[in-house]
């Protein structure tokens, strides 16, 4: 059996006395679209932040096994090193670089795959110029794939909301990831945009060989898209399974809707 691409074991995150995550274990297989769901404040975004190095978990193991490479631990790595190892993410509240164009936003994503340093930037040898040109064309290709090519030279702030969310995905793709973490990609989108996002995520998995873990509140999207769903509540993992299992799981229904008085 192949090792899971991302394996999180007994992850605990304390903020002072508050246990935001309590002994959460999650494994994600290659090529999966996995979803992490749970009521507000359940610790979903904290989970992302622990994996990507924004927080250092209090306890637990975070390991990745990139395709064709050995297993390595991510614990305690700074966010930029996590990205370099191939995990890209988007943010719940859109965090684009506002003063920059759409193209430049994606070019920032290419940053960690470019090698030119300060001296090269000052002297500009041909190798540096070629690299810069390649960064521009690569970024444009990514925008074409995501369907944002028509906005290429616009300022990022001027984009419609749905397009800004897609741009975040484009920027994450530019870092050449094998695992993509999407934090509420459909938040605030209209049904049409959500449908397009659904298609995009499937396309990314099938054509870009990506594994995707997403946090989402739109249950229709989650149920139609995911191969596997993990449910957390109050920092504890309460269930995992296929969408059908989760729909039928009484713990999950309790977490979302509260205890039914007849059951008690």
């Amino acid at each position: 059996m192949n090792k899971p691409i991302l394996s999180v074991k007994n992850l605990t995150m304390n903020f002072g006395g508050l246990k935001a995550l309590d002994d959460v274990s999650i494994a994600i297989e290659k090529g999966q679209i996995a979803a992490l769901i749970g009521p507000n404040g359940a610790g979903k975004t904290t989970f992302f932040n622990c994996i990507t190095g924004i927080y250092e978990p209090t306890k637990g193991v975070v390991e990745i096994t990139p395709p064709g490479k050995n297993t390595q631990s991510l614990r305690g790595l700074k966010p930029n090193y996590v990205t370099e190892r191939g995990i890209a993410r988007t943010f719940q509240n859109i965090r684009l670089f506002h003063g920059m164009t759409v193209l430049e936003n994606v070019m920032i994503g290419r940053h960690c795959r470019l090698s030119s340093g300060i001296i090269k930037a000052m002297l500009q040898p041909p190798s540096q110029k070629n690299e810069e040109q390649k960064a521009v064309t690569d970024s444009y290709e990514i925008l074409e794939k995501i369907g944002l090519a028509k906005y290429v030279n616009d300022m990022a702030v001027n984009l419609p909301y749905g397009a800004q969310r897609r741009l975040e995905i484009a920027r994450a793709l530019a870092t050449d990831p094998f695992l993509l973490l999407l934090d509420e990609p459909a938040a605030g989108m209209n049904p049409q945009e959500t449908k397009e996002l659904d298609d995009l995520i499937l396309w990314l998995r099938d054509n870009e060989n990506l594994t995707i873990l997403l946090i989402e509140h739109d249950m229709k999207l989650v149920m139609s898209l995911s191969d596997w769903i993990h449910v957390v509540d109050y920092g504890k993992k309460i269930a995992e399974g296929t969408p059908e299992d989760i729909k039928a799981n009484s713990d999950v229904i309790k977490a979302y809707l509260g205890e039914d008085s007849d059951d008690a």
Partner: protein, 408 residues
């Protein structure tokens, strides 16, 4: 309606000023006769002047706002439009070059001397612009690196007899080294905290220089610093000034050249992105700390070179030249000139350094006028004299070719 409101507002302001200035402008105590004179005419003048000043002020504010609405995309400063236009660029740059070439021969030595100071500030401003304008790190101790450069030349010359041309590249390295040394512990902080800590570091360097007598000669400073030589040849005082003028002009050109290239590279993009959003930047694989440290160290490099030129020009330095006020002046150059804008910084340095010199004629009110001008610039041009116009990467879809265009 609007005009009626404006008159009403101006009347209120005038009235308020009359009350405020009443004790100093109207009441005059005659201590000899023990009487009080009431100078009512002054009250009237204060009222009239403030009324009209307020009307003018309002008019400009209104016009500014109307302009902003009208041309949101089209507010590229004139000078940038000149530089973009192929027909005007060459003649324009030609005129500027001719002016700076002829300057020391046309004007007397005093003017050359203050122009050298202004150009040193251009260098300092461009260096600080990397730190404050591009990377968004508020550094109030920038003068420390300026001092490092100046003292490096003075001391290396005093003890080892090293010449200007040897020390200049050495000081650049030394500046970078100090930038890394000071930056390493403080760059974990951000915003106001960083400002306070850098301010402290700036003062520490000055206080060390002032008190470590055996090392730096203390507050007495170091005198007889030799001017730069031309292949071992010394010029007389007048020609030396011209020589230094051209050296500093060359250094400024070099600074513009390199800073421009840095700005439009991978590292420049990372600086600007870091200023926008640190967390997103890190998630994109940019090493926050390293990128900040590079900005800090590169800024320090130019400050140190500026220090060497300063020491060579004045031939005497002491710690009093490197007080916190110097840091603030350089920061003013950047902010008033236009953050992130190289041309703005040049304009800022020339205005801020030359203006007080030429205002010596009205020396009593010099600082008052200077301060008022700064306030006026900030109110009417909050982006600085010449606002930053960044080279933006654009993609030409039709030709599938890459173009670099300027864009606000």
């Amino acid at each position: 309606m609007a005009i009626k409101n404006q008159i009403k507002q101006s009347l209120i302001i005038a009235f308020w000023f009359m009350i405020l200035t009443f004790p100093i402008m109207v009441i005059k105590v005659n201590t000899i006769q023990n009487t009080i004179d009431f100078r009512w005419a002054n009250l009237l003048w204060v009222g009239i002047v403030t009324f009209f000043a307020s009307m003018v002020w309002n008019y400009f504010l209104r016009r500014n706002e109307a302009q902003k609405k009208k041309e949101i995309d089209d507010d590229i400063p004139l000078i940038h439009r000149l530089l973009q236009n192929d027909r005007f660029r060459r003649p324009f740059l030609g005129v500027v070059a001719a002016f700076f070439l002829a300057y020391p021969f046309v004007f007397p030595m005093y003017h050359t001397s203050i122009m050298i100071s202004a150009l040193v500030y251009v260098m300092l401003g461009l260096g600080l612009n990397i730190v404050v304008g591009l990377a968004g790190l508020l550094d109030l101790g920038y003068v420390a690196f300026y001092a490092v450069g100046a003292y490096a030349y003075a001391l290396l010359n005093l003890h080892f007899g090293l010449s200007f041309w040897v020390v200049l590249p050495m000081s650049a390295l030394l500046g970078t080294l100090f930038g890394v040394m000071l930056g390493y512990p403080v760059l974990r902080l951000r915003g106001d905290y960083l400002a306070i800590v850098t301010l402290g570091f700036g003062e520490i360097i000055r206080i060390v220089l002032e008190n470590w007598d055996t090392f730096s000669n203390g507050p007495r400073g170091i005198a007889d610093i030799p001017p730069p030589t031309f292949f071992g040849h010394y010029f007389d005082q007048h020609d030396t000034m011209i020589y230094i003028y051209f050296i500093v002009t060359g250094l400024v050109l070099m600074t513009i050249f390199f800073v421009n290239r840095l700005e439009n590279s991978k590292i420049g993009r990372a600086w600007i992105a870091l200023r926008d959003d640190e967390i997103a930047c890190q998630a994109m694989g940019i090493d926050k700390f390293k990128t900040k440290l590079t900005a800090f160290a590169l800024g320090a490099t130019w400050a140190a070179m500026g220090g060497v030129v300063f020491a060579a020009k004045t031939s005497y330095i002491n710690p009093m030249s490197f007080t916190i006020w110097e840091s603030i002046t350089i920061l003013c150059v950047v902010v008033i000139g236009g953050m992130g804008s190289a041309i703005g910084v040049i304009a800022g340095a020339l205005v801020l350094i030359l203006l007080p010199e030429y205002l010596r004629a009205v020396s009593e009110y010099r600082m008052l006028v200077f301060g008022a001008l700064q306030v006026i610039v900030m109110v009417f041009k909050p982006d600085g004299l010449i606002k930053s116009v960044r080279k933006v990467y654009t993609f030409n879809v039709q030709e599938k070719a890459i173009h670099e265009q300027t864009h606000t």
